[in-house]
Symmetry: C2
Subunit: 124 residues, 2 copies
DNA sequence: TGCACACATGAACAACTGTTCATATGTTAG
DNA sequence: CTAACATATGAACAGTTGTTCATGTGTGCA
């Protein structure tokens, strides 16, 4: 029996079992760049510190000092994470005197992690 | 002037600027364990490979070989990530002969990343 | 103008993550 | 039973990430 595999193999180290399924699914797939952006978004939610910060800000506008007090973390750690959140357009800030106040960029952010909460609460 | 700071400082290296806000927000916060679980969930979504796999499975049930062909990745890499997804109860599988077919654990999973897609599409 | 506070940021370091490589397990056909 | 395929898994390795530490920037007050 000839090495049938060698004729078909391209990027996958196995036969193409269900060519029709693969083609059908391929047509439905969003383009890769969108998937990468989606992953980037969730990666930002995927950290307990950042989630906690977002949770705080969903209740009230807060300054860096307040957040670090509440979460019992250093100002530096919070500041670094706020920077990440800001770069991702998940929070915005305004300066008032010495303090800088942060809040959620839009109500949409709240919906995203509330969707996740629903999933978790149903699961356990 | 006495080092006022030393009297107040506990875990945060600054004064407690808005004690009332902090207390109000603290009452609204979900307990920490829940936040950690939420972060764990999003961490799993926060990878382009895993998001791509979930996207595939939202269209059709697929075997490992099909997925690795479609995503142009090695079978091993896909298998490792499917394991992560399964442990998180995001996918389930069934064996049929030599092949193992995977599908989403429930429709809920689909809703989670579709919520993210909405956010991304609105943003740009 | 100088000091103290609030915040930002760069470097460094440990911990974690995702892929590859090699190999093991499970299944079917002959 | 054996060979070949489909999948799973452990070790290793590079790349990434989050915190800490030290220090810089911006603001208000005396």
């Amino acid at each position: 029996m000839p090495r049938f595999k060698d004729d078909f193999l391209e990027k996958c180290d196995c036969y193409l079992l269900h060519e029709d399924t693969v083609e059908q699914v391929r047509k439905q797939m969003p383009d890769q760049e969108l998937l990468i952006r989606l992953a980037e978004l969730y990666k930002i939610f995927g950290d307990a510190t950042r989630i906690s910060i977002l949770m705080c800000l969903s209740t009230a506008e807060m300054c860096v000092c307040d957040i670090s007090t509440l979460l019992k973390m250093t100002q530096s750690a919070i500041s670094h994470q706020l920077r990440v959140l800001k770069q991702a357009n998940l929070v915005k800030n305004r300066r008032q005197g010495k303090a800088v106040f942060y809040c959620l960029a839009d109500e949409h952010v709240k919906q995203i992690f509330e969707q996740g909460l629903v999933h978790i609460k149903e699961e356990y």
